[in-house]
Symmetry: C3
Subunit: 220 residues, 3 copies
Protein backbone atom coordinates (compact mmCIF):
# COMPACT_ATOMS: atom_id res chain seq x y z
CA UNK A 1 0.00 0.00 0.00
CA UNK A 2 1.51 3.32 -0.95
CA UNK A 3 1.76 6.01 1.77
CA UNK A 4 -0.82 8.35 0.22
CA UNK A 5 -3.43 5.63 0.01
CA UNK A 6 -2.68 4.42 3.53
CA UNK A 7 -3.11 7.97 4.84
CA UNK A 8 -6.44 8.28 3.09
CA UNK A 9 -7.70 4.98 4.51
CA UNK A 10 -6.62 5.95 8.03
CA UNK A 11 -8.18 9.38 7.62
CA UNK A 12 -11.49 7.89 6.51
CA UNK A 13 -11.44 5.41 9.38
CA UNK A 14 -10.86 8.27 11.83
CA UNK A 15 -13.68 10.20 10.18
CA UNK A 16 -16.02 7.24 10.65
CA UNK A 17 -15.36 6.79 14.38
CA UNK A 18 -15.54 10.52 15.08
CA UNK A 19 -18.84 10.63 13.21
CA UNK A 20 -20.07 7.81 15.47
CA UNK A 21 -19.29 9.97 18.51
CA UNK A 22 -21.14 12.96 17.04
CA UNK A 23 -24.16 10.91 16.04
CA UNK A 24 -24.34 9.27 19.46
CA UNK A 25 -24.39 12.69 21.11
CA UNK A 26 -27.13 13.81 18.73
CA UNK A 27 -29.30 10.77 19.36
CA UNK A 28 -28.97 11.30 23.11
CA UNK A 29 -30.26 14.84 22.75
CA UNK A 30 -33.13 13.52 20.63
CA UNK A 31 -32.28 15.44 17.52
CA UNK A 32 -34.13 14.38 14.39
CA UNK A 33 -32.47 12.37 11.61
CA UNK A 34 -31.08 15.46 9.93
CA UNK A 35 -29.67 16.81 13.16
CA UNK A 36 -27.94 13.52 13.83
CA UNK A 37 -26.39 13.48 10.36
CA UNK A 38 -25.20 17.07 10.76
CA UNK A 39 -23.60 16.26 14.08
CA UNK A 40 -21.92 13.24 12.49
CA UNK A 41 -20.41 15.35 9.76
CA UNK A 42 -19.50 18.20 12.08
CA UNK A 43 -17.87 16.02 14.73
CA UNK A 44 -15.84 14.20 12.11
CA UNK A 45 -14.80 17.07 9.87
CA UNK A 46 -14.78 20.39 11.74
CA UNK A 47 -11.26 19.93 13.01
CA UNK A 48 -9.90 19.26 9.56
CA UNK A 49 -11.96 22.05 8.00
CA UNK A 50 -10.73 24.56 10.59
CA UNK A 51 -7.15 23.43 9.98
CA UNK A 52 -7.54 23.74 6.21
CA UNK A 53 -9.11 27.20 6.46
CA UNK A 54 -6.29 28.36 8.73
CA UNK A 55 -3.49 27.09 6.51
CA UNK A 56 -5.21 28.32 3.36
CA UNK A 57 -6.03 24.93 1.85
CA UNK A 58 -9.42 25.80 0.35
CA UNK A 59 -11.72 24.17 -0.43
CA UNK A 60 -10.97 21.94 2.58
CA UNK A 61 -10.54 18.22 1.89
CA UNK A 62 -13.78 17.43 3.69
CA UNK A 63 -15.61 19.63 1.19
CA UNK A 64 -13.65 18.67 -1.90
CA UNK A 65 -13.64 14.91 -1.42
CA UNK A 66 -17.05 13.23 -1.19
CA UNK A 67 -15.64 10.21 0.65
CA UNK A 68 -15.40 12.12 3.93
CA UNK A 69 -19.04 13.00 3.59
CA UNK A 70 -19.94 9.41 2.76
CA UNK A 71 -18.05 8.02 5.76
CA UNK A 72 -19.74 10.57 8.04
CA UNK A 73 -23.24 9.92 6.75
CA UNK A 74 -22.75 6.17 6.94
CA UNK A 75 -21.72 6.42 10.58
CA UNK A 76 -24.62 8.77 11.31
CA UNK A 77 -27.17 6.47 9.71
CA UNK A 78 -25.83 3.41 11.49
CA UNK A 79 -26.01 5.20 14.81
CA UNK A 80 -29.48 6.55 14.13
CA UNK A 81 -30.81 3.08 13.36
CA UNK A 82 -29.02 1.14 16.07
CA UNK A 83 -28.41 3.75 18.75
CA UNK A 84 -29.07 1.53 21.79
CA UNK A 85 -26.67 -1.03 20.36
CA UNK A 86 -23.97 1.59 19.81
CA UNK A 87 -24.52 2.84 23.35
CA UNK A 88 -23.80 -0.61 24.70
CA UNK A 89 -20.55 -0.53 22.76
CA UNK A 90 -19.48 2.57 24.70
CA UNK A 91 -16.06 1.23 25.60
CA UNK A 92 -15.14 0.00 22.14
CA UNK A 93 -16.35 3.32 20.74
CA UNK A 94 -14.12 5.21 23.15
CA UNK A 95 -11.17 3.20 21.99
CA UNK A 96 -12.08 3.83 18.36
CA UNK A 97 -12.38 7.48 19.25
CA UNK A 98 -8.86 7.37 20.70
CA UNK A 99 -7.69 5.80 17.45
CA UNK A 100 -9.41 8.54 15.44
CA UNK A 101 -7.80 11.17 17.62
CA UNK A 102 -4.37 9.65 17.07
CA UNK A 103 -4.84 9.47 13.30
CA UNK A 104 -6.19 13.00 12.96
CA UNK A 105 -3.46 14.49 15.13
CA UNK A 106 -0.57 13.03 13.14
CA UNK A 107 -2.20 13.54 9.74
CA UNK A 108 -3.10 17.13 10.67
CA UNK A 109 0.39 17.98 11.86
CA UNK A 110 1.86 16.45 8.75
CA UNK A 111 -0.42 18.48 6.49
CA UNK A 112 0.36 21.71 8.33
CA UNK A 113 4.09 21.06 7.96
CA UNK A 114 3.57 20.43 4.26
CA UNK A 115 1.97 23.88 4.00
CA UNK A 116 5.09 25.41 5.52
CA UNK A 117 3.83 26.38 8.95
CA UNK A 118 6.07 27.02 11.93
CA UNK A 119 6.69 23.67 13.70
CA UNK A 120 5.05 24.78 16.95
CA UNK A 121 1.98 25.85 15.01
CA UNK A 122 1.99 22.62 13.02
CA UNK A 123 1.83 20.65 16.25
CA UNK A 124 -1.04 22.81 17.48
CA UNK A 125 -2.89 22.47 14.18
CA UNK A 126 -2.47 18.70 14.47
CA UNK A 127 -4.07 18.91 17.87
CA UNK A 128 -6.83 21.13 16.46
CA UNK A 129 -7.52 18.57 13.73
CA UNK A 130 -8.06 16.02 16.44
CA UNK A 131 -10.12 18.00 18.91
CA UNK A 132 -11.90 20.57 16.71
CA UNK A 133 -14.73 18.27 15.74
CA UNK A 134 -15.61 17.47 19.33
CA UNK A 135 -15.55 21.17 20.22
CA UNK A 136 -17.99 22.13 17.46
CA UNK A 137 -20.16 19.11 18.31
CA UNK A 138 -20.48 20.29 21.91
CA UNK A 139 -20.99 23.95 20.96
CA UNK A 140 -23.89 22.94 18.70
CA UNK A 141 -25.38 21.05 21.64
CA UNK A 142 -24.99 24.20 23.80
CA UNK A 143 -22.51 22.52 26.16
CA UNK A 144 -19.06 23.50 27.35
CA UNK A 145 -16.79 21.38 25.15
CA UNK A 146 -15.80 18.20 26.94
CA UNK A 147 -12.24 18.52 25.77
CA UNK A 148 -11.85 21.73 27.78
CA UNK A 149 -12.81 20.14 31.04
CA UNK A 150 -12.02 16.43 31.17
CA UNK A 151 -9.26 13.92 30.92
CA UNK A 152 -6.09 13.83 28.96
CA UNK A 153 -7.64 14.28 25.55
CA UNK A 154 -6.13 17.30 23.86
CA UNK A 155 -2.76 16.71 25.48
CA UNK A 156 -2.63 13.23 23.98
CA UNK A 157 -3.34 14.72 20.55
CA UNK A 158 -0.69 17.38 21.10
CA UNK A 159 1.88 14.76 22.11
CA UNK A 160 1.21 12.72 18.98
CA UNK A 161 1.41 15.77 16.73
CA UNK A 162 4.63 16.87 18.41
CA UNK A 163 6.29 13.57 17.57
CA UNK A 164 5.52 14.17 13.89
CA UNK A 165 6.98 17.67 14.05
CA UNK A 166 10.10 16.55 15.88
CA UNK A 167 10.47 13.69 13.41
CA UNK A 168 10.40 16.14 10.52
CA UNK A 169 13.01 18.31 12.26
CA UNK A 170 15.20 15.25 12.90
CA UNK A 171 14.73 14.15 9.28
CA UNK A 172 13.28 10.79 10.29
CA UNK A 173 11.22 8.91 7.70
CA UNK A 174 7.77 10.57 7.81
CA UNK A 175 5.83 7.33 8.08
CA UNK A 176 7.90 6.18 11.05
CA UNK A 177 7.33 9.46 12.88
CA UNK A 178 3.63 9.35 12.13
CA UNK A 179 3.31 5.80 13.40
CA UNK A 180 5.23 6.62 16.57
CA UNK A 181 3.12 9.75 17.14
CA UNK A 182 -0.13 7.90 16.59
CA UNK A 183 0.88 5.11 18.96
CA UNK A 184 1.93 7.61 21.64
CA UNK A 185 -1.35 9.51 21.35
CA UNK A 186 -3.42 6.34 21.43
CA UNK A 187 -1.61 4.91 24.44
CA UNK A 188 -1.85 8.18 26.39
CA UNK A 189 -5.54 8.45 25.66
CA UNK A 190 -6.23 4.80 26.47
CA UNK A 191 -4.41 5.18 29.79
CA UNK A 192 -6.36 8.36 30.54
CA UNK A 193 -9.60 6.41 30.00
CA UNK A 194 -8.40 3.40 31.97
CA UNK A 195 -6.84 5.18 34.93
CA UNK A 196 -8.79 8.45 34.92
CA UNK A 197 -5.74 10.59 34.22
CA UNK A 198 -6.51 14.28 34.01
CA UNK A 199 -4.99 17.70 34.20
CA UNK A 200 -5.06 19.87 37.31
CA UNK A 201 -7.88 22.35 37.85
CA UNK A 202 -7.01 25.77 39.27
CA UNK A 203 -7.33 25.55 43.04
CA UNK A 204 -10.32 27.07 44.76
CA UNK A 205 -10.72 25.08 47.88
CA UNK A 206 -13.97 26.57 49.12
CA UNK A 207 -16.16 23.56 49.83
CA UNK A 208 -19.42 25.37 49.08
CA UNK A 209 -18.29 26.79 45.73
CA UNK A 210 -19.95 25.87 42.47
CA UNK A 211 -19.71 22.15 41.68
CA UNK A 212 -16.94 21.06 39.34
CA UNK A 213 -17.78 21.32 35.65
CA UNK A 214 -16.40 17.88 34.91
CA UNK A 215 -19.10 15.43 33.90
CA UNK A 216 -17.44 12.08 33.13
CA UNK A 217 -20.75 10.59 32.00
CA UNK A 218 -21.14 13.07 29.19
CA UNK A 219 -18.27 11.51 27.31
CA UNK A 220 -18.92 10.01 23.90
Amino acid sequence: MEPGLLLLVLDLAGTFVFALSGATAGVRRRLDLFGVLVLSFVAANSGGIARDLLIGAVPPSAIRDWRYLAASLLAGTVTFLWAPWIERLRNPVRLFDAAGLALFAVVGASKALAFGLHPVMAALLGMLSGIGGGIVRDVLLAEVPLVLRADLYAVAALAGATVVVVGEWAALPPMAAMCAGAVLCFVLRACAIRYGWGLPVAGRWDPIGQPPARKPDAEA
Copy 2:
Protein backbone atom coordinates in the same frame (compact mmCIF):
# COMPACT_ATOMS: atom_id res chain seq x y z
CA MET B 1 -34.28 42.66 -15.60
CA GLU B 2 -31.03 40.88 -16.28
CA PRO B 3 -30.30 37.64 -14.38
CA GLY B 4 -27.43 39.06 -12.30
CA LEU B 5 -29.52 41.96 -11.07
CA LEU B 6 -32.47 39.69 -10.35
CA LEU B 7 -30.23 37.39 -8.31
CA LEU B 8 -28.93 40.35 -6.33
CA VAL B 9 -32.42 41.60 -5.58
CA LEU B 10 -33.59 38.16 -4.48
CA ASP B 11 -30.45 37.73 -2.38
CA LEU B 12 -31.01 41.05 -0.64
CA ALA B 13 -34.65 40.22 -0.01
CA GLY B 14 -33.62 36.91 1.55
CA THR B 15 -31.05 38.75 3.64
CA PHE B 16 -33.72 41.11 4.91
CA VAL B 17 -36.14 38.41 6.04
CA PHE B 18 -33.43 36.30 7.65
CA ALA B 19 -32.23 39.40 9.47
CA LEU B 20 -35.79 39.88 10.75
CA SER B 21 -35.66 36.37 12.24
CA GLY B 22 -32.34 37.04 13.92
CA ALA B 23 -33.43 40.39 15.31
CA THR B 24 -36.66 38.91 16.62
CA ALA B 25 -34.72 36.23 18.49
CA GLY B 26 -32.42 38.91 19.92
CA VAL B 27 -35.26 41.11 21.10
CA ARG B 28 -36.88 38.11 22.81
CA ARG B 29 -33.69 37.44 24.74
CA ARG B 30 -33.55 41.14 25.70
CA LEU B 31 -30.26 41.89 24.04
CA ASP B 32 -29.40 45.56 23.72
CA LEU B 33 -29.59 47.43 20.43
CA PHE B 34 -26.11 46.36 19.37
CA GLY B 35 -26.80 42.72 20.19
CA VAL B 36 -29.97 42.84 18.12
CA LEU B 37 -28.12 44.33 15.15
CA VAL B 38 -25.36 41.73 15.43
CA LEU B 39 -27.91 38.92 15.48
CA SER B 40 -29.58 40.45 12.44
CA PHE B 41 -26.36 40.47 10.50
CA VAL B 42 -25.28 37.06 11.72
CA ALA B 43 -28.59 35.34 11.02
CA ALA B 44 -28.71 36.81 7.55
CA ASN B 45 -25.12 36.40 6.45
CA SER B 46 -23.37 33.59 8.32
CA GLY B 47 -24.54 30.93 5.92
CA GLY B 48 -23.23 32.81 2.91
CA ILE B 49 -20.00 33.75 4.70
CA ALA B 50 -19.34 30.12 5.69
CA ARG B 51 -20.03 29.01 2.11
CA ASP B 52 -17.70 31.66 0.70
CA LEU B 53 -14.90 30.78 3.12
CA LEU B 54 -15.25 27.09 2.27
CA ILE B 55 -15.16 27.59 -1.49
CA GLY B 56 -12.36 30.14 -1.24
CA ALA B 57 -14.34 33.21 -2.32
CA VAL B 58 -12.71 35.76 -0.01
CA PRO B 59 -13.60 38.35 1.02
CA PRO B 60 -17.13 36.91 1.22
CA SER B 61 -19.86 38.84 -0.58
CA ALA B 62 -21.44 39.83 2.72
CA ILE B 63 -18.18 41.57 3.66
CA ARG B 64 -17.33 43.00 0.26
CA ASP B 65 -20.72 44.40 -0.63
CA TRP B 66 -22.18 46.96 1.78
CA ARG B 67 -25.75 46.30 0.62
CA TYR B 68 -25.98 43.05 2.59
CA LEU B 69 -24.96 44.97 5.68
CA ALA B 70 -27.48 47.70 4.94
CA ALA B 71 -30.33 45.22 4.44
CA SER B 72 -29.42 43.45 7.69
CA LEU B 73 -29.18 46.63 9.76
CA LEU B 74 -32.42 47.95 8.32
CA ALA B 75 -34.24 44.78 9.32
CA GLY B 76 -32.62 44.85 12.76
CA THR B 77 -33.59 48.45 13.38
CA VAL B 78 -37.16 47.89 12.23
CA THR B 79 -37.48 44.91 14.54
CA PHE B 80 -35.91 46.72 17.46
CA LEU B 81 -38.33 49.62 17.14
CA TRP B 82 -41.49 47.66 16.42
CA ALA B 83 -40.80 44.28 17.99
CA PRO B 84 -44.32 43.61 19.33
CA TRP B 85 -45.72 44.42 15.92
CA ILE B 86 -43.30 42.04 14.20
CA GLU B 87 -44.19 39.36 16.75
CA ARG B 88 -47.82 39.65 15.78
CA LEU B 89 -46.76 39.07 12.17
CA ARG B 90 -45.28 35.70 13.15
CA ASN B 91 -46.97 33.78 10.40
CA PRO B 92 -46.10 36.17 7.59
CA VAL B 93 -42.54 36.27 8.90
CA ARG B 94 -42.33 32.47 8.81
CA LEU B 95 -43.45 32.52 5.21
CA PHE B 96 -40.90 35.20 4.38
CA ASP B 97 -38.33 33.09 6.15
CA ALA B 98 -39.31 30.16 3.92
CA ALA B 99 -38.85 32.43 0.92
CA GLY B 100 -35.42 33.49 2.17
CA LEU B 101 -34.46 29.87 2.69
CA ALA B 102 -35.50 29.01 -0.85
CA LEU B 103 -33.57 31.92 -2.33
CA PHE B 104 -30.40 31.29 -0.34
CA ALA B 105 -30.40 27.57 -1.09
CA VAL B 106 -30.60 27.96 -4.86
CA VAL B 107 -28.26 30.95 -5.02
CA GLY B 108 -25.77 29.17 -2.77
CA ALA B 109 -25.78 25.97 -4.80
CA SER B 110 -25.39 27.96 -7.98
CA LYS B 111 -22.38 29.84 -6.59
CA ALA B 112 -20.71 26.65 -5.38
CA LEU B 113 -21.15 25.10 -8.83
CA ALA B 114 -19.62 28.19 -10.39
CA PHE B 115 -16.56 27.66 -8.16
CA GLY B 116 -16.17 24.16 -9.54
CA LEU B 117 -17.24 22.09 -6.56
CA HIS B 118 -18.40 18.50 -6.77
CA PRO B 119 -22.18 18.48 -7.42
CA VAL B 120 -23.00 16.71 -4.15
CA MET B 121 -20.98 19.28 -2.24
CA ALA B 122 -22.57 22.12 -4.18
CA ALA B 123 -26.00 20.93 -3.07
CA LEU B 124 -24.80 20.72 0.54
CA LEU B 125 -23.24 24.18 0.36
CA GLY B 126 -26.54 25.50 -0.98
CA MET B 127 -28.21 23.99 2.05
CA LEU B 128 -25.52 25.48 4.30
CA SER B 129 -26.13 28.93 2.79
CA GLY B 130 -29.75 28.57 3.78
CA ILE B 131 -29.40 27.15 7.26
CA GLY B 132 -26.01 28.48 8.42
CA GLY B 133 -27.34 31.81 9.60
CA GLY B 134 -29.95 30.23 11.82
CA ILE B 135 -27.36 27.89 13.31
CA VAL B 136 -24.98 30.70 14.26
CA ARG B 137 -27.92 32.75 15.56
CA ASP B 138 -28.90 29.95 17.92
CA VAL B 139 -25.32 29.20 18.97
CA LEU B 140 -24.86 32.86 19.94
CA LEU B 141 -28.01 32.56 22.04
CA ALA B 142 -26.58 29.41 23.70
CA GLU B 143 -29.33 27.19 22.31
CA VAL B 144 -29.24 23.97 20.36
CA PRO B 145 -29.87 25.14 16.78
CA LEU B 146 -33.53 24.82 15.90
CA VAL B 147 -32.71 23.45 12.48
CA LEU B 148 -31.13 20.38 14.08
CA ARG B 149 -34.22 19.42 15.97
CA ALA B 150 -37.39 20.60 14.29
CA ASP B 151 -39.43 20.41 11.17
CA LEU B 152 -38.52 19.98 7.59
CA TYR B 153 -36.21 22.96 7.32
CA ALA B 154 -32.80 21.84 6.16
CA VAL B 155 -34.26 19.10 4.01
CA ALA B 156 -36.35 21.66 2.13
CA ALA B 157 -33.19 23.70 1.49
CA LEU B 158 -31.34 20.60 0.37
CA ALA B 159 -34.14 19.67 -2.02
CA GLY B 160 -34.10 23.11 -3.61
CA ALA B 161 -30.33 23.11 -3.94
CA THR B 162 -30.40 19.62 -5.45
CA VAL B 163 -32.74 20.79 -8.19
CA VAL B 164 -30.20 23.42 -9.17
CA VAL B 165 -27.39 20.88 -9.25
CA VAL B 166 -29.42 18.38 -11.27
CA GLY B 167 -30.46 21.16 -13.63
CA GLU B 168 -26.80 22.03 -14.24
CA TRP B 169 -26.03 18.37 -14.90
CA ALA B 170 -28.97 18.10 -17.30
CA ALA B 171 -27.88 21.34 -18.99
CA LEU B 172 -31.21 23.02 -18.31
CA PRO B 173 -31.33 26.82 -18.44
CA PRO B 174 -29.93 27.94 -15.04
CA MET B 175 -32.76 30.37 -14.29
CA ALA B 176 -35.38 27.69 -14.88
CA ALA B 177 -33.63 25.26 -12.56
CA MET B 178 -33.22 27.94 -9.91
CA CYS B 179 -36.88 28.90 -10.10
CA ALA B 180 -37.97 25.27 -9.88
CA GLY B 181 -35.64 24.64 -6.95
CA ALA B 182 -36.80 27.73 -5.09
CA VAL B 183 -40.46 26.82 -5.60
CA LEU B 184 -39.87 23.25 -4.41
CA CYS B 185 -38.04 24.43 -1.29
CA PHE B 186 -40.68 27.03 -0.50
CA VAL B 187 -43.58 24.61 -0.95
CA LEU B 188 -41.91 21.90 1.18
CA ARG B 189 -41.20 24.39 3.93
CA ALA B 190 -44.68 25.91 3.80
CA CYS B 191 -46.23 22.45 4.03
CA ALA B 192 -43.96 21.58 6.95
CA ILE B 193 -45.21 24.70 8.76
CA ARG B 194 -48.83 24.06 7.84
CA TYR B 195 -48.99 20.33 8.53
CA GLY B 196 -46.22 19.92 11.09
CA TRP B 197 -44.13 17.68 8.88
CA GLY B 198 -40.90 16.55 10.50
CA LEU B 199 -38.20 13.96 10.36
CA PRO B 200 -38.10 10.88 12.58
CA VAL B 201 -36.27 10.96 15.90
CA ALA B 202 -34.21 7.94 16.91
CA GLY B 203 -36.48 5.65 18.91
CA ARG B 204 -36.21 5.59 22.67
CA TRP B 205 -39.64 4.71 23.81
CA ASP B 206 -39.15 5.06 27.54
CA PRO B 207 -42.03 7.27 28.70
CA ILE B 208 -40.10 8.79 31.59
CA GLY B 209 -37.03 9.72 29.56
CA GLN B 210 -35.95 13.31 29.06
CA PRO B 211 -38.57 15.37 27.23
CA PRO B 212 -38.11 15.78 23.49
CA ALA B 213 -35.86 18.64 22.48
CA ARG B 214 -38.31 19.90 19.88
CA LYS B 215 -39.75 23.27 20.81
CA PRO B 216 -42.08 24.38 18.02
CA ASP B 217 -42.74 27.69 19.75
CA ALA B 218 -39.13 28.76 19.61
CA GLU B 219 -39.33 29.18 15.86
CA ALA B 220 -38.75 32.56 14.32
Copy 3:
Protein backbone atom coordinates in the same frame (compact mmCIF):
# COMPACT_ATOMS: atom_id res chain seq x y z
CA MET C 1 10.63 53.01 17.62
CA GLU C 2 9.46 52.42 14.08
CA PRO C 3 5.69 52.18 13.46
CA GLY C 4 5.68 48.48 12.54
CA LEU C 5 7.47 47.49 15.72
CA LEU C 6 5.25 49.73 17.83
CA LEU C 7 2.17 48.11 16.30
CA LEU C 8 3.51 44.66 17.08
CA VAL C 9 4.25 45.55 20.69
CA LEU C 10 0.79 47.06 21.15
CA ASP C 11 -0.79 44.06 19.47
CA LEU C 12 1.03 41.65 21.75
CA ALA C 13 0.09 43.70 24.82
CA GLY C 14 -3.56 43.57 23.74
CA THR C 15 -3.24 39.83 23.20
CA PHE C 16 -1.89 39.40 26.70
CA VAL C 17 -4.71 41.27 28.45
CA PHE C 18 -7.41 39.59 26.36
CA ALA C 19 -5.86 36.23 27.19
CA LEU C 20 -6.10 37.17 30.87
CA SER C 21 -9.83 37.71 30.45
CA GLY C 22 -10.26 34.35 28.74
CA ALA C 23 -8.21 32.49 31.30
CA THR C 24 -10.10 34.12 34.17
CA ALA C 25 -13.39 32.98 32.68
CA GLY C 26 -12.00 29.47 32.27
CA VAL C 27 -10.74 29.25 35.84
CA ARG C 28 -14.13 30.40 37.11
CA ARG C 29 -15.83 27.58 35.24
CA ARG C 30 -13.27 25.14 36.69
CA LEU C 31 -11.82 24.05 33.40
CA ASP C 32 -8.61 22.08 33.63
CA LEU C 33 -5.22 23.57 32.73
CA PHE C 34 -5.61 22.81 29.05
CA GLY C 35 -9.08 24.31 28.92
CA VAL C 36 -7.78 27.47 30.55
CA LEU C 37 -4.96 27.76 28.03
CA VAL C 38 -7.34 27.20 25.13
CA LEU C 39 -9.65 29.90 26.42
CA SER C 40 -6.66 32.23 26.77
CA PHE C 41 -5.67 31.70 23.18
CA VAL C 42 -9.21 31.83 21.87
CA ALA C 43 -10.19 34.98 23.74
CA ALA C 44 -7.05 36.74 22.58
CA ASN C 45 -6.88 35.62 18.98
CA SER C 46 -10.30 34.65 17.63
CA GLY C 47 -11.15 38.18 16.62
CA GLY C 48 -7.98 38.61 14.65
CA ILE C 49 -8.24 35.13 13.14
CA ALA C 50 -11.82 35.77 12.01
CA ARG C 51 -10.77 39.09 10.50
CA ASP C 52 -7.84 37.51 8.68
CA LEU C 53 -9.98 34.67 7.31
CA LEU C 54 -12.56 37.15 6.09
CA ILE C 55 -10.08 39.43 4.33
CA GLY C 56 -8.17 36.47 2.92
CA ALA C 57 -4.96 36.93 4.92
CA VAL C 58 -4.13 33.25 5.48
CA PRO C 59 -2.50 31.86 7.46
CA PRO C 60 -3.74 34.40 10.03
CA SER C 61 -1.07 36.28 11.98
CA ALA C 62 -2.03 34.48 15.16
CA ILE C 63 -1.18 31.17 13.47
CA ARG C 64 1.86 32.35 11.54
CA ASP C 65 3.60 34.24 14.32
CA TRP C 66 4.45 32.24 17.43
CA ARG C 67 4.62 35.36 19.62
CA TYR C 68 0.82 35.66 19.78
CA LEU C 69 0.69 32.10 21.03
CA ALA C 70 3.44 32.77 23.55
CA ALA C 71 1.72 35.88 24.91
CA SER C 72 -1.56 33.97 25.23
CA LEU C 73 -0.06 30.96 26.97
CA LEU C 74 1.93 33.17 29.33
CA ALA C 75 -1.24 34.99 30.36
CA GLY C 76 -3.09 31.71 30.73
CA THR C 77 -0.41 30.16 32.91
CA VAL C 78 -0.16 33.24 35.11
CA THR C 79 -3.92 33.23 35.60
CA PHE C 80 -4.05 29.51 36.27
CA LEU C 81 -1.40 29.76 38.96
CA TRP C 82 -2.56 32.97 40.62
CA ALA C 83 -6.27 33.07 39.81
CA PRO C 84 -7.49 34.46 43.16
CA TRP C 85 -4.91 37.21 42.89
CA ILE C 86 -5.99 38.10 39.36
CA GLU C 87 -9.62 38.11 40.54
CA ARG C 88 -8.75 40.71 43.15
CA LEU C 89 -7.26 42.81 40.36
CA ARG C 90 -10.64 42.82 38.61
CA ASN C 91 -10.72 46.56 38.09
CA PRO C 92 -7.19 46.89 36.72
CA VAL C 93 -7.91 43.93 34.45
CA ARG C 94 -11.02 45.63 33.13
CA LEU C 95 -8.99 48.70 32.31
CA PHE C 96 -6.36 46.55 30.60
CA ASP C 97 -9.17 44.87 28.71
CA ALA C 98 -10.37 48.30 27.58
CA ALA C 99 -6.83 49.03 26.41
CA GLY C 100 -6.71 45.74 24.53
CA LEU C 101 -10.05 46.51 22.91
CA ALA C 102 -8.79 49.91 21.79
CA LEU C 103 -5.59 48.47 20.33
CA PHE C 104 -7.29 45.61 18.52
CA ALA C 105 -9.98 47.85 17.06
CA VAL C 106 -7.59 50.35 15.50
CA VAL C 107 -5.05 47.74 14.39
CA GLY C 108 -7.83 45.61 12.90
CA ALA C 109 -9.39 48.48 10.99
CA SER C 110 -5.99 49.50 9.72
CA LYS C 111 -5.25 45.98 8.48
CA ALA C 112 -8.62 45.67 6.75
CA LEU C 113 -8.02 48.99 4.98
CA ALA C 114 -4.60 47.75 3.88
CA PHE C 115 -6.33 44.75 2.28
CA GLY C 116 -8.53 47.07 0.26
CA LEU C 117 -11.86 46.60 1.98
CA HIS C 118 -14.71 49.07 1.76
CA PRO C 119 -14.28 51.67 4.54
CA VAL C 120 -17.55 50.74 6.28
CA MET C 121 -16.51 47.11 6.30
CA ALA C 122 -13.02 48.01 7.50
CA ALA C 123 -14.54 49.76 10.52
CA LEU C 124 -16.72 46.72 11.23
CA LEU C 125 -13.78 44.35 10.87
CA GLY C 126 -11.85 46.52 13.32
CA MET C 127 -14.74 46.12 15.72
CA LEU C 128 -14.79 42.36 15.05
CA SER C 129 -11.07 42.14 15.83
CA GLY C 130 -11.83 43.71 19.19
CA ILE C 131 -14.94 41.79 20.17
CA GLY C 132 -14.55 38.46 18.33
CA GLY C 133 -12.38 36.87 20.98
CA GLY C 134 -14.86 37.58 23.73
CA ILE C 135 -17.69 36.20 21.64
CA VAL C 136 -15.93 32.88 20.97
CA ARG C 137 -14.85 32.71 24.63
CA ASP C 138 -18.47 32.98 25.75
CA VAL C 139 -19.76 30.57 23.09
CA LEU C 140 -17.26 27.94 24.28
CA LEU C 141 -18.58 28.46 27.79
CA ALA C 142 -22.15 27.98 26.49
CA GLU C 143 -23.17 31.51 27.41
CA VAL C 144 -24.80 34.29 25.44
CA PRO C 145 -21.83 36.53 24.55
CA LEU C 146 -21.51 39.34 27.05
CA VAL C 147 -20.83 41.83 24.30
CA LEU C 148 -24.31 41.26 22.89
CA ARG C 149 -26.06 42.16 26.08
CA ALA C 150 -24.06 44.56 28.20
CA ASP C 151 -22.50 47.94 28.30
CA LEU C 152 -20.90 50.06 25.69
CA TYR C 153 -18.32 47.55 24.56
CA ALA C 154 -18.70 46.92 20.87
CA VAL C 155 -19.77 50.49 20.22
CA ALA C 156 -16.55 51.76 21.77
CA ALA C 157 -14.57 49.46 19.47
CA LEU C 158 -16.60 50.60 16.48
CA ALA C 159 -16.00 54.25 17.35
CA GLY C 160 -12.25 53.71 17.57
CA ALA C 161 -12.16 51.80 14.30
CA THR C 162 -14.23 54.48 12.61
CA VAL C 163 -11.70 57.15 13.54
CA VAL C 164 -9.01 55.13 11.74
CA VAL C 165 -11.17 54.78 8.64
CA VAL C 166 -12.11 58.45 8.59
CA GLY C 167 -8.47 59.35 9.14
CA GLU C 168 -7.49 57.30 6.11
CA TRP C 169 -10.19 58.99 4.05
CA ALA C 170 -9.04 62.43 5.22
CA ALA C 171 -5.43 61.45 4.47
CA LEU C 172 -4.32 62.10 8.03
CA PRO C 173 -1.07 60.49 9.17
CA PRO C 174 -2.02 56.87 10.00
CA MET C 175 -0.35 56.83 13.41
CA ALA C 176 -2.19 59.99 14.47
CA ALA C 177 -5.54 58.53 13.45
CA MET C 178 -4.78 55.26 15.19
CA CYS C 179 -3.79 57.02 18.40
CA ALA C 180 -6.91 59.18 18.32
CA GLY C 181 -9.09 56.14 17.65
CA ALA C 182 -7.52 54.12 20.42
CA VAL C 183 -7.90 56.96 22.91
CA LEU C 184 -11.55 57.48 21.94
CA CYS C 185 -12.31 53.77 22.31
CA PHE C 186 -10.53 53.53 25.64
CA VAL C 187 -12.24 56.61 27.08
CA LEU C 188 -15.69 55.46 25.94
CA ARG C 189 -15.16 52.04 27.43
CA ALA C 190 -13.73 53.39 30.67
CA CYS C 191 -16.70 55.72 31.03
CA ALA C 192 -19.08 52.84 30.34
CA ILE C 193 -17.45 50.88 33.16
CA ARG C 194 -17.38 53.86 35.51
CA TYR C 195 -20.88 55.21 34.87
CA GLY C 196 -22.69 52.07 33.72
CA TRP C 197 -23.40 53.44 30.27
CA GLY C 198 -25.31 51.01 28.06
CA LEU C 199 -27.46 50.77 24.99
CA PRO C 200 -31.26 50.63 25.08
CA VAL C 201 -33.06 47.30 25.22
CA ALA C 202 -36.20 46.87 23.13
CA GLY C 203 -39.12 47.86 25.31
CA ARG C 204 -41.23 45.19 26.92
CA TRP C 205 -42.46 46.74 30.08
CA ASP C 206 -44.19 43.76 31.59
CA PRO C 207 -42.88 43.59 35.15
CA ILE C 208 -43.23 39.83 35.45
CA GLY C 209 -41.48 39.02 32.18
CA GLN C 210 -38.25 37.10 32.06
CA PRO C 211 -35.45 38.80 33.94
CA PRO C 212 -33.06 40.90 31.91
CA ALA C 213 -30.19 38.98 30.35
CA ARG C 214 -27.63 41.50 31.57
CA LYS C 215 -25.36 40.01 34.19
CA PRO C 216 -22.87 42.71 35.22
CA ASP C 217 -20.96 40.26 37.41
CA ALA C 218 -20.08 37.98 34.54
CA GLU C 219 -17.77 40.59 33.11
CA ALA C 220 -14.11 39.82 32.73
